[in-house]
Symmetry: C2
Subunit: 427 residues, 2 copies
């Protein structure tokens, strides 16, 4: 009893725990919710603005906001699972799903969208916020901290990623010139879009920070005739990328360097970074800007592509804990700390939020097709965890909780930039 | 002597005033610079990184950095003028020019570009910075303060502005789809660009904040079939705009309201503001965002077009003092204070810096053609002051000291926004 009261207080700290009598005749509670746990859950749903979800408890009880057709059904297997969720829903709900202590009937993405919408309209009590701030405190991105964090996610195994990233092995937001484009087409279109934004010309040199499995570097070399030095601290990815470059005979045009972006040296015509900024940490943005400034000099240009937010906010804590330690998607105002201390002219910002939702839907589809194989490689828990991560990310982008910013910039007075963006759309 | 030393100390506070002997054999000083004033001026030029300018003093002396071909010649008419410039170059130089105590031979824009570049590379001593901060403290934009500030600039007379703004009377950055576009073509293209970015459809409603002489509102009504309520606190502009709407028979579609943007009421499909933000003041950005949020609701969209900076910095103090009291062009990070507190998704930022340079060149050309008429309406000082302002603004945009940001945004989870920007460039 005490433990339960405490849990509820932590989840809904601005409202004092009510005496059981108070619940009995509250009209917003579903009929038949009689156990204490059921009443607590109903209270949480009410607090979340009564999202259209139905919970089935291990006791056979059903809890749902009255008069609303549910978009999905959640089966909770035990009292301990429910208490965990009540105490810390953002982490314990996806954990319980991963561990099979929670089953979901209906569309997982839609369920998560519903939760995103609800928790947005719910008031954020200050203690919850403080707790969230504490939880968010990301793993520090020192040189060695970055290596640990990156290893956690990207060195799981190239075989695993190749099951669901498509031909390009690009693990970043694609660009869909038309809604019916396939994943591979959209990834190729994204790379062309980036290269056109940078106006790459044959013979130029490019520094790439955070190159993944090396696809963009190869694309730039093959299609735009540039020389690329691409940096990455993931050993597995760099090994994969080097092999690919050698196989394609591009070893002299593309050099993969197993090193941190902070150690980029030399002078280049352009700087590009697609999907690394999420791992940099706001405190390091000004230094990143300094690396770029010295790398491209007064006549260069650059592009940074990153997940972001509509306002400064912590990353969903489960994602930070289980999937991307040390990650933080910045608000645009925060991204400006890269550019403004060095007086870059920000030339173009494009928000590709809905493109990332579509990319993730494609990944999720491929992932589901390969889930048997993933289960063999890892285990069922891993499959469910990654399903939750991919589906939650779709919901993040469709609800605007996550954004995708592609920022083109140049030194302040570089006037050799195109007057209009029409060239990006020329056939 | 004491007064002079003090002036120099104020201009170059980090360096102690040197004894005259020290200058005698410094190689970077031009030969023949022998008077005290000449030595002080050479010192200032050296401090500014020796820009390629030649000064002719009232004594007949010439001061110029050695070995550099000057791009322009500056004739200084008196000791008092020079001392003023040494004490406070940013304000006293353009003042002296306006008052005819300074003559410039050569290209005024090029001269000002040179000064912009030089002062950028010069170190900013902290006392100069503090002084600048104090100078910049803009006239406060309360409701009545805003009226005074706006009256100062925009109520000079519609006749005056019609001499050099072209047919459209649009007093904001134009958009040049091709370099050879005329001013009027580029202003029309700008309005289409804005309307396309907003995806206006017939029958929709638009709130416009700061509508100038009403051109954009008329354009939206005529070409896109929308209803517009346009707000402006300049009495002269609103009277002009109403007359125009009546003449065009658009009185029922376009309503001009003589009121502050803070008093916008009602619900609209879109919000637009072109060239008002410069007069709003950063402290009012969050409130402006609130006005927008309540005006467009959860499914609307909006566009803000404003002069900006590559980093937070005071407006050139002479411009703030003589031309635009209360004005402040924000850095992008500052602009985000409009959007982020209300969780708007920033969809698109386009930098039109070089378009504004071209617009201003066209205005300057028309202004010069009409300078006889302007002299009759006002006086010679007014002509020179406005020439300095327009030429300085060209230089501001070509050197990147000024930027022009066009920002498209929508409520965070409005998914009825176009996936790509291709429609902006469709023929």
């Amino acid at each position: 009893m005490n433990a339960l009261d405490e849990s509820v207080n932590r989840a809904v700290p601005s409202q004092p725990a009510a005496a059981p009598e108070e619940f009995a005749d509250r009209p917003s509670l579903a009929a038949g919710t009689r156990s204490l746990e059921g009443r607590m859950l109903a209270r949480l749903l009410e607090y979340l603005g009564n999202p259209p979800l139905e919970f089935h408890l291990w006791t056979g009880e059903r809890v749902a906001p009255p008069g609303i057709a549910p978009v999905a059904r959640v089966r909770v297997s035990s009292r301990a699972t429910l208490l965990g969720i009540l105490a810390d829903p953002q982490v314990r709900f996806p954990d319980a799903y991963s561990e099979g202590r929670l089953e979901i009937e209906g569309d997982l993405v839609q369920l998560l969208e519903t939760i995103y919408h609800s928790s947005r309209s719910a008031p954020q009590p200050s203690t919850v916020r403080r707790l969230a701030e504490r939880l968010r405190r990301p793993h520090v991105n020192t040189l060695s901290g970055s290596r640990d964090n990156i290893h956690h996610h990207y060195d799981i195994g190239n075989d695993f990623y190749s099951l669901w990233l498509g031909q390009t092995m690009a693990y970043t937001c694609a660009y869909y010139p038309a809604p019916e484009a396939t994943l591979d087409e959209a990834q190729a279109a994204k790379m062309h879009h980036v290269c056109r934004k940078l106006r790459l010309r044959p013979g130029e040199s490019v520094a790439e920070a955070g190159c993944g499995w090396g696809t963009l570097a190869l694309h730039m070399a093959q299609h735009y005739g540039v020389k690329v030095r691409a940096f990455n601290i993931s050993r597995e990815q760099v090994a994969f990328a080097r092999e690919r470059a050698a196989r394609l005979g591009l070893g002299s045009q593309v050099e993969y360097v197993l090193d941190d972006y902070r150690n980029i040296s030399g002078r280049y015509d352009a700087f590009v970074s697609v999907g690394m900024l999420e791992h940099v940490g706001v405190d390091n943005y000004e230094a990143l800007g300094g690396v770029i400034a010295r790398s491209i000099g007064p006549r260069g240009r650059g592009l940074i592509h990153s997940i972001g937010r509509s306002q400064s906010a912590p990353l969903q804590p489960w994602i930070e804990k289980r999937i991307f330690p040390g990650a933080y998607p910045p608000a645009l105002s925060e991204m400006m700390r890269i550019f403004e201390p060095w007086e870059f002219s920000v030339l173009d910002v494009e928000n590709l939020r809905l493109h990332y939702a579509q990319t993730l839907r494609h990944w999720l589809e491929l992932f589901e097709s390969a889930s048997g194989r993933v289960r063999e490689m890892f285990d069922e828990k891993f499959v469910r965890m990654w399903r939750m991560y991919l589906a939650g990310s779709v919901a993040g982008f469709t609800t605007g909780a996550l954004q995708l910013f592609q920022v083109v910039f140049a030194p302040r007075d570089n006037n050799e930039v195109p007057m209009t963006r029409e060239h990006l759309y020329a056939r």
